[in-house]
């Protein structure tokens, strides 16, 4: 062996080599299979099965429908006959056919000849033009060539024409012969259009419907490797250039692959299919082709979040909406959440959060009920006061002004209230600071008692006197009760003793806009109430509580009614005495922050009890942030104490402290826990009293929490969707600002604005039943007449000047029969302008819109108009108030005061209104006098030659002459100041 210079046995080497090669080959093959095997392919296969099934069902239906149509059968028969006829008559004309062929050949030849000669001609033309332009030597030669070709081409063109005519005449004979068949076939195509599409669809997907070759092809095309060419299973993606993904260094186009598995998402046929094939709900609003959010332009993840490029269940970072679902997914998909993805999919209950990033300027967000509720909760609870939120930057403080506190409550009540506000008023938005999970132990409790004392002390010491008048007259509680029910208090307030179990809604929150007035007698005095009602701004300059212009008597009545309600149990809650030792600890703690231990002790020793209380009170107010919601003397410029929330949900999950709580590690779970029990993250932690979490407990119900969490999840960085956000045009800004004011002053408590609101209607109905002796049915019928008006279209309808003045001081009685009052709000000029602009912007009009139109009338016209106005024709006064004259018709159709038309209404609008009221205000009670379907014949024929336009114009002008004082012979004027 040594001689051969060999060591290994070649046979053995061969065997080893063969084995390792085969192993490598097998490994390589499994690489291919591993790459080939993807979940989404299974889904696409499944989907195809469903698709085939659906198409088959549809086709069957279509076929049955067709076969039931007599027309179709008839057509089939006709076609068969026509075909036979064509075969017999037309095709039999062999001579003609030969002629056609011949003519065709001739034409082709002549045409080619012409084409070539024409090309030569064009080139010669250029050469000649060029030669002439540049004075070339051979220009004459070029000219000659050009001219001769010109002649040839002209001649050939004629030849072509001739050949064409010849062919056409022959062809026409043939065509005429087959014209009937062609027409019939066209009819058939039209009739079977849907069927043939289905047939074609099935041909392309259904193995049973295709021939063998295609079956083979469809198998082959999806094989490993070969699938590179023309596969059926493929990753679907939507690339969105203007909806970006934030990759920290920059924003890059978003690439959504969700539709790879969610294949039926835009197809309404799949409503009842299971995920992932089911149709998206509400295609008119989302994803649908004609919706405002078409799939191609918005994709999926910009709203739903998740990992857009993922093509597997876990890769897309789905998030279960409940623990059960999580368990289910774990079993079914091997689910686990991808931890290193910042934007996991929004769980189903919180999906509406996705709307916010684009619709952050809207109040409320239309179509997103839960998100709107969440935002309304944030507004009502005043979260923005402690937590900076971009949207609520300039909003007033949500709590009452405490600078004149001493005039309203006593210290004892104050102590009990601070100790546990919810025990006095179950649904108050004043949150609980004490008796919480991190300060309920005995030591903390003792400390809390003293803290409350200190805070109250500070507040009372620093309260200005409230120069309130005594009740001038004795009030009548019964009348007070009726007034509360009728003037409109229930638009914002409720008197609700028990916690209801109704779900929180935007509308419900409007009725909770002002405090629940239950047990108010325990809280304050009739005197304070009287003064508050007469002039709320004197107690709280920024209050949203308007002035209802109550008479002294009315105010006294209401005060005396409200004061009756008392809560004795609450009053009996013991108030502990001031404990100097505990107080000393508190004071010392605060002192030590700025001093040495000894220094602090020295200072403490030098303080009197009063001083200690005052000192501790101030520090505690600063610590708890009371000033964020309430005006408190000495805290005018203090900064809010909470975390800014404007882009809270763009924050990395790592920045959320879950403490020692065993809850799911997700933003939504954290938010929910924080809202449920804000202090619970302190659990198990050892903290000094001033280190403890401070966020108070709002006693929120689960549905309220869910709504708020939805809104919070929506608070994200908007840079990704800049291109999709409504442009900040003056109109849109006017709308935004107006909507903001509408929310701030709770206009929707009384009015329908942009189709939402009018929360007061129910209580108006109740009032009608309770106090006006109407039956339930009657009340339901006339409740709209006795409720504040719908503000739909007022931008176009009202004269902006009038609107401005009316909002400022609503003295004029447009609807004198109403008991509910348009109160006087504390609007400043900016507010007023904003509102007027807003209403105009909503109606698409530019501010300021004021058209001067000629409103004069000739005598003849006046006469005609007066007739139209009268009972004989339109009978306007049946429903409309004119001046102080109430309508003659039934209450449920009473309508505004026409005497105000002159100053109040836009003349142009009036024309359109008279013409077709329900076009401007769908569902209006105003009758349509001119039938829009047959407009030209709709008016009375005997006036103004039956010219409808003229009739409307004179009627409009007539209305504009009406006034409170003088009216020409229509109704006896009884002028009266409102």
């Amino acid at each position: 062996m040594g001689k051969d210079e060999r060591h290994y046995n070649i046979n053995k080497l061969n065997v080893v080599f063969a084995v390792v090669s085969v192993v490598l080959l097998l490994t390589l093959m499994s690489v291919f299979m591993n790459d080939y095997d993807r979940d989404w392919k299974d889904y696409q296969r499944q989907f195809r099965t469903i698709e085939i099934e659906k198409a088959r069902v549809k086709l069957d239906k279509e076929n049955i429908e067709l076969s039931q149509q007599a027309e179709y059968e008839e057509l089939e028969g006709k076609i068969a006959a026509a075909k036979q006829a064509y075969k017999d008559k037309c095709l039999a004309q062999t001579e003609l056919q030969e002629q056609i062929e011949e003519a065709n050949a001739k034409l082709t030849l002549v045409e080619q000849d012409y084409k070539f000669r024409k090309a030569e001609f064009d080139a010669a033309k250029y050469r000649f033009e060029h030669g002439e332009a540049y004075h070339e030597h051979d220009v004459d030669q070029y000219r000659e060539a050009f001219q001769s070709l010109d002649q040839q081409v002209t001649k050939l063109a004629l030849d072509v024409e001739e050949a064409k005519t010849a062919l056409k005449s022959k062809q026409r004979m043939m065509d005429n012969c087959g014209a009937q068949l062609a027409q019939l076939e066209r009819d058939e195509r039209q009739m079977t259009a849907r069927q043939s599409i289905l047939v074609r669809q099935l041909d392309s997907i259904d193995p049973n419907a295709m021939n063998l070759t295609n079956q083979v092809a469809n198998m082959v095309r999806d094989l490993p490797i070969l699938e590179l060419a023309n596969p059926r299973n493929k990753v679907e993606q939507i690339v969105l250039k203007d909806v970006t993904e934030d990759v920290n260094f920059m924003n890059v186009p978003r690439v959504d692959r969700c539709t790879t598995c969610h294949l039926g998402i835009t197809n309404p046929d799949y409503v009842n299919e299971a995920q992932p094939f089911t149709t998206h709900p509400n295609l008119e609003l989302y994803v649908g082709k004609n919706s405002p959010h078409p799939l191609e332009e918005f994709g999926c993840t910009v709203c739903h979040a998740g990992r857009p490029r993922g093509t597997s269940f876990n890769g897309a970072v789905h998030v279960p909406s409940s623990p059960q679902q999580k368990k289910e997914w774990e079993e079914k998909y091997g689910y686990h959440q991808m931890e290193l993805w910042e934007e996991p999919m929004l769980p189903l209950p919180y999906t509406e959060a996705g709307c916010y990033k684009c619709h952050s300027g809207e109040f409320p967000v239309k179509g997103a009920e839960k998100l709107s509720t969440g935002l309304a909760m944030i507004e009502t609870a005043g979260c923005y006061a402690c937590h900076e939120i971009e949207r609520y930057k300039d909003w007033p403080k949500p709590g009452p002004n405490l600078t004149k506190l001493a005039g309203k409550i006593d210290k004892e009540w104050g102590w009990r209230w601070l100790n546990d506000p919810h025990s006095f008023r179950h649904n108050t938005m004043m949150p609980s600071y004490f008796n919480q999970s991190n300060n309920s132990d005995v030591v903390s409790k003792k400390r809390s008692d003293q803290e409350i004392h200190a805070i109250l002390h500070y507040l009372f010491e620093n309260a200005q006197p409230y120069p309130s008048d005594r009740l001038p007259i004795k009030g009548d509680p019964a009348r007070g009760e009726e007034l509360v029910a009728s003037v409109g208090c229930y638009a914002c307030h409720q008197i609700q003793p028990e916690k209801g179990d109704e779900m929180v809604t935007v509308d419900g929150l409007r009725r909770r806009f002002g405090p629940n007035l239950i047990d108010i007698g325990t809280k304050t005095s009739a005197r304070w109430l009287y003064n508050w009602l007469k002039d709320p701004n004197s107690y709280h300059p920024d209050t949203a509580m308007p002035n209802l212009r109550l008479t002294d008597q009315e105010a006294a009545d209401i005060a005396s009614f409200l004061i009756q309600d008392k809560n004795n149990a609450f009053s009996q809650h013991p108030v502990p005495a001031v404990n100097v030792n505990v107080l000393n600890d508190i004071v010392l703690g605060f002192l030590k922050r700025a001093d040495t231990d000894q220094g602090a002790r020295n200072t403490l020793a030098g303080m009197k009890l009063e001083q200690k209380l005052e000192f501790a009170g101030e520090k505690l107010i600063a610590q708890y942030g009371c000033f964020s919601c309430h005006n408190i003397k000495g805290f005018d410029n203090a900064k809010p104490i909470g975390v800014a929330l404007s882009e809270e949900s763009s924050k990395s999950l790592h920045k959320f402290d879950f403490g020692f709580l065993h809850i799911e590690h997700s933003k939504h779970a954290w938010y929910a826990q924080k809202l449920k029990d804000p202090r619970s993250f302190d659990k198990g932690k050892i903290k000094a009293p001033d280190e403890k979490l401070r966020m108070p407990n709002f006693n929120l119900k689960n549905d309220e929490i869910e709504a708020i969490v939805t809104a919070l999840l929506g608070f994200v960085d908007e840079s990704q969707v800049q291109a999709k956000i409504k442009p900040r045009t003056p109109e849109n800004l006017a709308k935004e600002q107006g909507e903001e004011l509408v929310a701030q002053f709770n206009c929707r408590g009384c009015h329908m604005v942009e189709g939402q609101g009018g929360s007061i209607h129910d209580s108006v109905e109740k009032w009608l039943v309770d106090f006006e002796e109407k039956t339930d049915n009657e009340a339901a019928k006339v409740r709209d007449s006795f409720s504040p008006p719908n503000l739909h279209g007022v931008g176009r309808k009202l004269n902006p000047e009038w609107l401005f003045n009316f909002l400022h001081e609503p003295k004029q009685k447009v609807r004198p029969w109403l008991r509910v009052r348009m109160p006087t709000f504390n609007f400043n000029v900016v507010h007023l302008n904003t509102l007027v602009k807003y209403f105009q912007a909503v109606d698409g009009d530019n501010f300021p819109l004021k058209i001067n139109v000629e409103t004069g009338l000739t005598d003849k016209e006046y006469e005609a108009a007066a007739k139209l106005f009268s009972e004989d024709y339109f009978g306007c006064t049946q429903c409309h108030v004119v001046g102080s004259k109430l309508p003659t018709g039934s209450q449920d159709s009473w309508a505004p005061n026409l005497a105000l038309a002159k100053t109040r209404l836009q003349p142009e609008w009036l024309i359109e209104w008279i013409k077709n009221p329900s076009k401007l205000m769908p569902g209006t009670k105003m009758p349509t006098f001119f039938d829009p379907e047959n407009y030209d014949t709709s008016g009375p024929d005997d006036l103004l030659d039956g010219n409808e336009n003229e009739q409307i114009r004179v009627l409009r002008n007539f209305l504009l002459t009406l006034s409170e004082e003088q009216q020409r012979d229509v109704a006896a004027p009884v002028p009266e100041t409102p």
Partner: protein, 229 residues
Amino acid sequence: MSDKNKPQKNKSQKTSKIPPRPTAPTQDAAGGADQASNSQNKQIGVTPQELQKKSAVATPIVRAPEGENVDRRTFIKWAALGWTAFAAVIGGYGTLLLRYLFPNVLFEPKQSFRAGYPDDYTVGEVNENFKETQAVWIVRDAEKIYALSTVCTHLGCTPNWLESEGKYKCPCHGSGFYKNGINFEGPAPRPLERFKITQAPDGEIIVDKTKKFQQEKGEWTDPESFILV
């Protein structure tokens, strides 16, 4: 110059025997093939038959050394298996590379668009809805619907549809086209192009701009170039 020996020897091997190829056999075990091809080169003008014969003789690459020529059959079997598998692996690597070159998705802008339903178009109308966004006219005549490119075949300007005159007229150099896209005046050398047009399962029209049909190539009769209605 003094030490001439070494390079000289080297040289003599290389240069002196050209042609034919240097005869000094390379010292590897697979020298057989080399030698065969050497002899081939010596006599110029080998016929192909000869060539084949020679190479056939030269094929056994490995001479079984003494002591190993136990079972020639097994030997060949294993060698064949090993080398076949190895060749398959090399082929597999090639396939891997090939497959890798074709991604599953494309980031190119979509070349197809949905254009509503046949009923959205009236007979005889030239629909300009997609002229701006997609550079396509959709035309419906008595029988069919087709999609015309709005790119002039002359220099790529965009012609205008003149309803009253029933023609497309290019503003750049005055080329004129009939409603069906055939050129009849001006410098345009050929008719406008048509695009692939099909119907989705829901009956919606889909225009695919990746596939063009040119009249001069006789492609307008292709069933994908129109929809029958």
